[in-house]
Symmetry: C2
Subunit: 168 residues, 2 copies
């Protein structure tokens, strides 16, 4: 059975008015500290500044006016590395299983190609985040390598992290 | 024959007064764009701000008052990734072959361990930079993976880049 999807899901650039919804979505994930390498005690203002930073383009996925997820895209490096992009995706708590993350990643891959990026790189995919790893694999990402003990998980301690990459 | 080394080489934290020397060392490498993923046209002020940014500790290697090289160390990620450090090293043009880069890397490995870091990661070692790759390998770094076409080299076009990593 395919995952439930709403045909009405719409992905668009985030506006200023989306900031409260984006914060509601990203803050629990940042506070948990299990998937993103961010200071779990960062302020709400810093969390929003991070997710909507000047080097990023930020999108939201919405369904009938409810923001179900958000992602950013940015150049992963400057200069000779700026043709490779990097993204982060977060689905609203309780909105899992509806294909939101997949839709956002598909959107980001198409958007990245349209912007002239030649590849997408995830620098630190936490090894215990199996659901994400399977999703990225199903979307054509390859595991470039495994960084031993590169992430301190709040429950599991030091775990490996993957570098994942997809040519566009 | 071992590389020429000066027994007097001293590595210490950079001071404000080192800024002109640091700029002399890093600017040609940034302008060349062959080894660092940085905007080759960045201003001198931005170059110094990058190399001596607030999240970095910056060192210089000097011999009889002449700064021969500089390196920085910083956490490679925040939060659950902050126990892995990242460094950049640049030797002054004309000062190659004296073991400056090796001495700086050895210093950084010892300093990193003393600061509680558990690993050191290089995120983007340009595949054509064979001298650096051999040096890092000789200092215990492993190639975690190869990023296809991740760096646009000014002469060779799109070349692979390596992710290298060493546990401390």
């Amino acid at each position: 059975m395919p995952p439930r999807q709403s045909g009405r899901m719409n992905i668009r650039k985030a506006w200023e008015a989306d900031r409260p919804a984006i914060l509601e979505i990203i803050l629990p994930v940042i506070r948990e500290g299990a998937t993103y390498a961010l200071d779990t005690s960062m302020s709400e203002a810093d969390a929003l500044s991070y997710w909507m930073a000047g080097d990023k383009e930020t999108f939201v996925a919405e369904d009938r006016g409810i923001v179900l997820g958000t992602y950013y895209i940015r150049p992963n490096q400057a200069g000779g590395g700026r043709h490779v992009c990097n993204c982060g995706y977060i689905t609203r708590a309780g909105a899992g299983g509806r294909g939101v993350a997949r839709r956002m990643c598909e959107h980001s891959l198409a958007y990245a190609a349209s912007r002239g990026y030649r590849a997408m790189q995830f620098n630190l995919v936490v090894g215990t985040n199996e659901r994400a790893i399977h999703l990225w694999q199903s979307l054509g990402f390859q595991t470039i390598g495994r960084l031993p003990g590169a992430f301190q998980h709040p429950t599991f301690g030091y775990v490996d992290a993957l570098v994942m990459y997809r040519l566009l």
